[in-house]
Symmetry: D2
Subunit: 341 residues, 4 copies
């Protein structure tokens, strides 16, 4: 059976497994104090053109968002996010479980607007009762968004300007960052992200790793005693090498970017085929997630041969499905899918 | 340089790596809903002689303790533990961060006594002011303890009897469980643990895995919507296969027990050598951690050639160090260490 | 200067102060275990026509909402509320601080609709990913709402039916409950609320008390060890008598209802005068809060002589202000205000 | 029946009630922004000889401790306290519920020793694993202690010196502060406390108020947006006047000190009588709580005529009871008790 269900259905890129095997019996210190973590950090700093960046490796996206947000906010603050932001919808309330409200803004194809953000912040500070409300303490965006869309460089810069005018950090969830950076036509690069954002993470789990996200604080602004904070959240890995070796491999010889580009090429092939066959792609996604509108009967038939994610029912006759490509997607599988369509 | 610093200085047992490589490109569902997780659970149920057990795989010990305790306690309850219990001393306050007090009992070589537990619980319920105090809502023990010591079957049964008389669960932290089960002379088995305890975890990180702990609820008592609780704590791995494959391998052909036995053999070799050379082992540890009393000068000299953990200074002239063996310890390294001593 | 700023600008009804003075030197047990708390509970049970109700006295509205919601929800659950619900907007994130998300529904004049609630709950349970989301664990409504509006008996019954179909409690915030119950034309009574809701509070702070809210669990469903939960939230008053004596007084000879009726009479007088003078009341409020549309210049002039609450600016030329009457409002002040208008 | 059960069995000092009555119909702003709160603060600043002090009024002791500690600590820090400290034993886990561990030190008649504190802090910072532990982030003491004992000026100064050497705040729980300050022989004054401590509260509930504690930050160090933090904890009183008027009255013409002195005089009368009659006072308490050793039979007999607090059973033949005097204790009741003894 074919599967475009998600970008985390396979294990890890083979070079990662190979490096895990090669280094397996080396005796290394625990908790991220090993040479591979160090090397990975150094390579990520270079890729971000940010020699001062502090970096911490964690195992998953919800974990990284929760810890970053909890560590950056003061107790009386909440995080501003799009109504469709992952932190607001699909993290089982992890942000609130750790004490903070998600302050929702409207979404536009998954993105928030700098102008609306500015108006929101202004309104808050002008409200006579704001001391009885949750203070907006940081801004969360995802790039690519949950809808596969991307911010432009100008949009990122505007969000950054607004945040800094109000002295709150801008945080970017890069669960699928590689796929965003390799999208044709984007003018956003890793150094631009490091410049605009006060914290962000480079996703590994969905981009070739077994597990792992690299949380970056580009401005010497990692919260004090961050290791202790991570431990307190139950997220400090004893064998930190598992994360260090993976990111060291991903950031050697541009592997992270190469495998991301492959996923994008597969996604574009898929998209072109879908359009060519007369189907519509809802949402103009330039990344590895494509959203296809199918008649219900077609959907039911396809489902028997292809694993896909149900997205929504726009009306009683149609179904939107999400297809995801990844570093591991094979061209022959894309072609097989298009033949079935 | 030799290292007996801890039991997590190497990667994973080679069979685990091999299985990760072999299964790497299989397309599997996420979040633990894959065939390897299922197989691993089935094998663990057999090893526990407990066909009804619910099992959940998590990545680390502090994480597992935090989530199990938070899920089993009601908000107004705390967890009873030895003063030296890992949850009370070395988890950066993760239990309290999630809202619960650790209620400390005296420790006897790292263990708590059934009699003292009973007296503590009795005193609580007789206290006229107990509604103004933290309710003892469960009991935490570690086996082996932080001092390498073991409960006997009779001691476990007594703790279990006391807990059940007061209708609170008994929870066992098995970060190094394999090393406890393979200790010569122990009369505690996995089925006995499954019978006496209401929840426990079988440690993988320190016993041959890259990461991973198997949390077992032997009595159809896994808290409802546990997956959501795990997600809310940021601990749900997208690629659950990483944990499933490791535990499936560890519980195939008794690998977990074999490699644990090896560590114990190495520990006993080490211990005999130490005693033979006229040194004293503080704490009578029958497991993979040995605590050696050294004169300060000897300690300083050894330190240049062997990585060890500083334990404590019993007086101004001496130092106690901890030496840990593991599934990966080589006999030649034990001999080399003894030669240096 | 005249003031219609809020319904908590004066102290307490004189009968309350008199009873505090009369009972002052009686020696009473602490923490709510006194005869006045008992009597107040008994009288409230009668007023609710609910002989089984458990009642607990707390000091303020945010405190009561926070504790009731925290005690009724499981950790992985959130509370459903109108976007304009007090818990979502003006409690400084107290609900989230205690670990729970507020799941927002649309508001219609401050109210939620039974139909939309049902659709929301249905959608949640049908979503394949609901285990990755916050579970709707209870429903919060305010009566009167933040806009002064009221549910009808039929609307309350529908919300109750929906909640019970999904096995979640319906909770009513009655900060201004007296003013709602005495509104002309309402068909909602205290016994109806006790029948429809699983928990609710009868507001004292805004209805004649110095401080105090009576939290009612009408169905023998007070969470176990609730006193301990209250203490843990820092909300257990040592001199519980302060709350008991106040509610005992308010529920003697219908004082609570009489003084509420007075506030409504004053509000209606105010409203009639405002309309008569050609001003518009935004929001059709039948309770003690009236929302008046003023030209900016008129607003600026009035402000110099009358304390009012700024509500919003519907356009650049106008301002909406809120005027609140209370148990303590004097008819001569209403007339003085109308003369100024 | 006589009662020496606690110091909160009566209502409030009559001057407080009188002021509440006199000011009752004044229209005042809510949330502590009224003239009486201002006046009370100004008088407290004078009494503390600390013109810069920030002061916030709260309703109870556990509430004040919880909020002060939660606001002063960083998330990864805990509060150091005596094993017998109220925060560790009798606050239902409120500190832990808000995320922080209580780090226990030995107690000496309810007090902690500066030397032991210094050793504890030194040990923490020297421990190689301290990043895996809870950081000691502040020190909690009570004065008088739970055993009625008092620190000397020299002891307070030493604790202050140690805290400041480690850059952590010293916090004093003054639930019964008046009784401590009026104890014969003490060399501790309010200005000395304001100088030694970084935060402390002046207890009202047990010293003549209906409810209320004045939390003092003497060094311009009130946490930012403290009102919002208080609201988030559900502790912001709408009618802040209730607290302001009480403290304004207590700090007018030294009322607080006068009524405290009365309680001490009654306690000394009680103590002398007890000793004269041949009974032993356990614990050398110079304040309003006295601890008397009784034979069980005597205890049973007395209990029928006097309400007292059971304290402990030192052996099977004896019982220790606690007798508390207060601002409201009548000399004739002390004499009646002594006659019964």
């Amino acid at each position: 059976m074919l599967s475009f269900e998600s970008d985390y259905i396979e294990g890890a890129h083979e070079q990662i497994l190979q490096r895990l095997v090669e280094t397996n019996l080396e005796q290394l210190s625990g908790y991220g104090q090993d040479i591979y973590c160090e090397r990975a950090k150094e390579k990520i700093r270079k890729a971000c053109a940010c020699s001062e960046a502090d970096i911490f490796f964690l195992t998953g996206g919800t974990q990284t968002n929760t810890i970053a947000i909890d560590a950056l906010l003061k107790p009386y603050e909440g995080v501003v996010a799009a109504k469709t932001g992952h932190v607001s919808t699909h993290e089982a309330g992890a942000i609130e479980h750790h004490g903070h409200k998600v302050l929702e803004l409207s979404q536009h194809q998954g993105k928030i607007s700098g102008e609306e953000l500015r108006a929101f912040l202004e309104r808050f500070w002008q409200d006579e009762n704001h001391e009885h409300m949750v203070f907006p303490g940081m801004v969360y965006i995802s790039h690519p968004t949950e809808y596969g869309t991307l911010y432009t460089k100008a949009e990122l810069e505007e969000l950054s300007t607004v945040c800094h005018a109000y002295e709150i950090p801008l945080y970017l969830d890069g669960a699928r960052l590689g796929y965003g950076l390799m999208s044709p036509g984007t003018d956003v690069t890793l150094p631009i992200i490091a410049k605009c954002c006060d914290a962000f993470y480079i996703g590994g789990t969905k981009v070739g790793a077994l597990c792992g996200e690299a949380l970056v604080f580009p401005k010497k602004n990692m919260p004090k005693y961050f290791l202790t904070i991570v431990k307190q959240h139950g997220a400090l890995l004893a064998k930190g090498r598992l994360l260090g070796i993976q990111f060291d491999t991903l950031f050697t010889d541009d592997l992270y970017f190469q495998i991301s580009r492959h996923a994008i090429e597969m996604a574009m092939l898929l998209k072109e085929g879908i359009l060519r066959k007369g189907y519509a792609c809802c949402l103009e996604s330039p990344t590895n997630q494509q959203f296809v509108l199918l008649e219900n009967a077609k959907y039911q038939a396809l489902k028997r041969e292809v694993a896909m994610s149900f997205w929504e029912k726009p009306d009683s006759e149609h179904t939107v499905v999400r297809l995801a490509t990844s570093w591991a997607t094979r061209q022959e599988d894309v072609e097989a899918f298009l033949a079935l369509l």
